[in-house]
């Protein structure tokens, strides 16, 4: 990764209370780039989606650790990787389609990836069944005028 001006790495247990925790930590970390309230809300929402997916899908059978690696670059990009070593996704393209969910009975809407894609500049997903899933979120924070 080029032009990294700050970075942060956290490892946390797949407990649902850690959804709010990871949102707060990311939000505090990104403050250095002076984001608008709207930009901050977008990032918090996308991170919440990815972390929740690791908890409810990745570690649905047994709990495990979630790894969050975040970077700020000198060209004002925020890059956040959220990784689990859970069950993985067989067909990533299908999983990313809006309304697709494997957890209908838990009242999941199938919108997590759609939200990440709409709220961030880019979303990439790497996954393999039995190995786990890595979601990389990217957003450029517009400079204050």
């Amino acid at each position: 990764m080029k032009n990294v001006q700050n970075e942060m790495h956290i490892k946390l247990l797949s407990k649902s209370t850690n959804e709010a925790f990871s949102r707060s930590v990311i939000s505090a970390f990104v403050l250095e780039l002076d984001p608008t309230i709207a930009e901050l809300a977008d990032i918090k929402t996308a991170v919440s989606e990815a972390v929740t997916n690791s908890i409810v899908h990745g570690y649905r059978r047994e709990s495990g650790m979630i790894y969050i690696d975040a970077y700020l670059t000198s060209d004002r990009n925020v890059i956040i990787k959220i990784r689990d070593r859970g069950v993985g996704i067989e067909d990533v393209q299908r999983a990313m389609q809006p309304l697709y969910t494997t957890a209908q009975e838990e009242e999941r809407a199938g919108l997590g990836f759609a939200v990440m894609q709409s709220f961030m500049d880019s979303v990439s997903v790497k996954s393999a069944p039995g190995k786990g899933t890595t979601v990389t979120l990217k957003k450029r924070i517009v400079a204050l005028r």
Binding site: R23, T52, I55, E107, R108, A109
Partner: protein
Amino acid sequence: MLDTNYDNDKLTVFLSGEIDHNRAVGLRTAIDGRLTALRPSVLELDFSRVSFMDSSGIGLIMGRYRSIGLMGGELRVTNVPDNLSRIIALSGVNTLGVMK
């Protein structure tokens, strides 16, 4: 835990704070408990004090749309703050005729 008002066959639930997966699980059980006990003809979800919501909140709305629908009642989603309007629009909840 659940801030509600029951009046004239209408159950209003005042949601607040951050609605994520962790919160949604408890809210779902609590709201459905009240619905089963009261069987109101209208369920109003008031979002005025909600500061954050992700797709788990959408699941909560869609699920309650179903619960009250099964009882022959109507869902109303009210006072959605501006900062939640994008996720609401993305979800299509606004096309169900429940936004008041």
